[in-house]
Subunit: 366 residues, 4 copies
């Protein structure tokens, strides 16, 4: 992965700032002959879109994606098919309200990348966070939708990748009550309908207070074969860790037992194996579907901790570019819990990593 | 990072199996003119070496590193200096006892990579875990010592990277009692001498039971400037997450507040800023020294959870390559807590990531 | 360089087909703070533009480039400055006449990539050659203009990169009469005005016959310092060879003495060295400014042979996708000598390679 | 390709200086399950070895290669098989005579990389040319032997890659008399026995004069399928150009018609197509087996011009490190025509590029 490129064989290079003319990405290395329509990508984007409830930023953009290259259709194809050449995706920025941000061009917002971008580059596009804005993640979701087409092409339609918000602030769900069929019944991708109701009141209060709260996202990839991954640097879990930690506001990544593994004994941790009707079966999944950096065929389970939005209405201490000590309140349209929108992004990153590993595996091992 | 290569400009490619003739690595992209001796690398290796106490594997190898290329000395240089060409490091495998492993060539050890390597490659070097053995991490420590020379060349001798074991199994240290000056006073890299004594009895019992236990490692990089990192895929924290998760037995990576960030409010999480005598100062460090993927100049703080060794003396259910259901006890020389040895490895990975980011930063930004 | 990406630190990923909605590229790794306007890029594109004389394809497109990201301007900057984040460039395809190509969707044009794209991908966008069209080179010229800004930023305004057509078909110029001040006085980038007049009649006849002819392009980079390049795989000449051979229709790349070096003796070939007023001076330049893959500080000299356009009006034997034997005449708007348009593209590729090597050099060696 | 790494999926990282302890390489990404013995690699090295006739350097080294990792054998395998993990190859330097070079540590030999390495790195290992020595090419030949095993695994035993010296200094062979069955009947890899006899006297005279001479090498890859390659940067011919130009002393690379293409008309150049008994057949091969950067299934034909050895016994003008004007005679053991030894190196580079492209193709296109 280069600075703005995810993947090695299935490579996604993203570009664009929050308040520039557009954002986009180029996908290079996609297999040819795969059905790909703008509607498929749009459906993925619509899950992530701002404005879908009062709990996410009220920026009203259609976020209409365009496929500019890499797909071809004529009367001999049954729809647009990938050609194996680079796929360029673009979304125009239409609702930018640049004025909202003019007062912060000289102030470093605590918890934001304002200070560090200036430290690195000497200048920055401060409008809406520029390149550091979560808006960039729209392109990851779009690219993830292409990766998903590749994965179903390779492994059939029984695979799934589902993300869920399993903790909002101090409120964790009871795993015993979680049921992923409910994920889309509530505005939080929450697998427990009762918890979702509780969260609604909780987050409403947070929002009214001008505050924000973090969350924990869990992503499960189901139905993938054993054998995806690589030793050492290219471990599947290592690449997932990079991909997931690269999501805005992520502060921790867990695989399987995760942090809890530190407290366990060898007897508690290592998953025993027995033969099942369709081959080897593990009696537990502390490994999160990955051993030695290579998939076991079990569910691949990852979690990411997302920090609370740093834009809040409480005055905070900061400094200006010139070093004056100041107070700041970050106005504007913001999410009281960005972890909600991180759910489809995390699904997309899982899809990108798996598609890339799958193609690399096919390249090396046939 | 390719499958066995860490880094982009400062690139370390590792090779070798636990019971082959040797292990080694090639470091490409090292700046020229840097003092580098075998003794410098050896000192780093000796911190990690097996056999240094009863709590780590009793494999007795000198682990003598040789520099085979990339360094030159004559009567005009004040010692061996890097030339800018690839540095090849090699350690011979001298104490292999291949017989120990002959009984497991057909059995998949639970928690080990035996099953997944076979699933991926169709065959494997089963002796001592082959490529999946923790022995590979010796080369990361060796390469980390080279990275360290680069970093002190760039940033002076006031920087530091120190790892500590802050939790062993269920026993966590009290942060208030931690003091990193004690790290080398005990066999655990434990910053609290009292806890270290407690751990000694605890781990002794674990070892006698033929069991094992996990642990939590914390690495702190101090004295590094603001501005290291990159947007999106190349974020400093994303690359750290990949590097640290690629360590054998790692199951979670945290940056700064880490998992706890999920429970916090925006007020609690975002670090406020004031001017100090030497420039901007943050009033807290929930960010772990990284904002928007770029260093803030504060301490860079990461933690990794290490699972317990999977090799234990309790019989465990497994299957053979042919699918027969079997029991297995993993004999041999093993660590009751591999997290101890993960400490110098984690320090090395932090050094590798920082050296690579530092050179890339210099390349792009001057 | 990945499949559609040029460079390592200064990376250009190009996308787009001849008759899709648009073509574009993403430049990642550009240093921040560099002045960059659409007009600067447009000026480079205009040198290459189709329709500028009767000797290049009559496709009438404005080829107006847009900068979509990576550049920022406000009242504190003296114009648009690069921010260090990805620069996205886009040119809309406005004059596509897709109908011209409908009769060749089932026929493989001799000398074109129709057959090989189908062999690789199983399908292709046949309109205007799709991804294999020389139209893609517009983005290289655009990216080359950005690279040029980087190079003048690094090395000042005394550097130059100039391409010239020094042979058209069987007609070579006399080096003794060449003078690069005349390059833009004629439609051929020919350094000898008398030869240019001769070529005009020659090429007019070729064009009227419905035929085409090849050419030889020479690119000279002047004023660059010694020390750019790398050993073995990353040699400056090796990367130039890849970059130049990747230009459509290129069949040979020479550095310095080039092919002639095969006939020389050691005495004739090796450039002797003396001290000049400003440092070492070579008494000749058979090396073409590169020794051991690293620049000497002399002029860097490369040449590429460009084959004749394969689209001609003479009937040619070919087969259809279904394997029927057929004759084909390639109608449409085409260049009788594509080597003319290869001149600015070759300049751009030289600039891309030098910018990338310069930044990598700064990263490794400071 | 990174600075010392060839390839993307099949990656070869070379290391080592002429007079260090050893030279070696690491091959990452090799498919598992492929038979690989030291004898196979040794056979390739023996073709290239110094000391095999009076026309190549008299350095007497066994050049015994060792495989240190990545291969495994037990009683269930029918020999050593690759495991899919990195393959480390090593050759010890045993006959170094460092004293020969002590007088040139302060002088820049004309035509050598002495000056440019100092310009880039500020210091260099001057013994025998250090990293810039042709000795490094031994590892390319070794790695090429591994690539060859991969290629026969993929495409069967009817493929071939053969290099020939088709011009020595001013003496070109008559293509009509060339017959590749004679390549190993003479010390020059010359396909025309009569020419070989003539060359023997010619080169003997060159050698006695203390002079040297260049040459032209042609490599033909036969039996490879259509469809290998990629658009734009990853073109098969572009990657071949980089790989071949990276060979020491290379000054030009041609594909198919090569330089001659500049003089041809479209009618003469584009290869017509007809149906043959086994599928499409081209009526000529001006393309050298590559169209649009992708293989056609015809013979892949490349040529490289190799400059004359720069080490000659005639006194030459040069300067010292301190800028004094001096004369130099390069004594030592040298080749009067290094193009001879470039033949097996060029074959190896062709094999490396094809193996890498083949695996990438399988990864993307199945």
């Amino acid at each position: 992965m280069s600075d703005n490129t995810y993947g090695k064989l299935f490579r996604v290079t993203s570009w664009g700032e929050s308040h520039g003319e557009a954002i986009g990405c180029v996908i290079d290395g996609c297999p040819p002959g795969i059905l790909l329509t703008e509607a498929m990508i749009q459906a993925a984007l619509d899950r992530r879109r701002p404005g879908s409830s009062k709990f996410v930023t009220q920026r009203q953009e259609a976020d209409k994606v365009k496929i500019l290259s890499g797909v071809f259709e004529d009367d001999r194809t049954d729809g647009p098919r990938t050609t194996g050449t680079p796929i360029s995706l673009l979304i125009e920025n239409t609702d930018q309200r640049s004025k909202d941000y003019s007062d912060i061009r000289d102030l470093y917002r605590p918890g934001h990348a304002d200070f560090t971008y200036d430290a690195k580059y000497g200048l920055r596009d401060y409008r809406g966070g520029g390149r550091a804005s979560a808006r960039e993640t729209a392109m990851r979701v779009a690219a993830g939708a292409v990766a998903w087409q590749v994965l179903t092409h390779l492994y059939g339609s029984d695979i799934s990748i589902t993300g869920a918000l399993i903790q909002m602030g101090t409120k964790k769900i009871d795993p015993a009550r979680a049921n992923r069929t409910h994920l889309n019944d509530n505005p939080f991708f929450c697998p427990d309908p009762a918890a979702a109701q509780d969260w609604e009141a909780y987050l409403d209060q947070i929002r009214k207070n001008g505050s924000s709260v973090g969350g924990l996202v869990e992503i499960i990839a189901h139905g993938f074969p054993a054998g995806l991954g690589a030793p050492t640097a290219g471990k599947l879990d290592a690449e997932l860790a990079q991909a997931l930690m690269s999501i805005n506001a992520a502060k921790a990544v867990e695989i399987g037992a995760g942090l809890e593994a530190a407290s366990l004994t060898g007897e508690e941790n290592a998953d025993e194996i027995r033969m099942g009707p369709d081959g080897p079966e593990f009696l537990s999944n502390k490994a999160g579907g990955i051993l030695g950096g290579i998939s076991t065929g079990q569910d691949i389970i990852a979690r990411i901790a997302i920090k609370p939005t740093s834009s809040i209405l409480t005055p905070r201490k900061t400094i200006s570019r010139e070093g004056e000590e100041r107070e700041i309140i970050t106005k504007g349209r913001h999410d009281p819990c960005v972890a909600i929108r991180a759910v489809p992004v995390a699904e997309a990153m899982m899809a990108l990593v798996l598609a890339d590993q799958a193609l690399r595996h096919r390249g090396q091992c046939g």
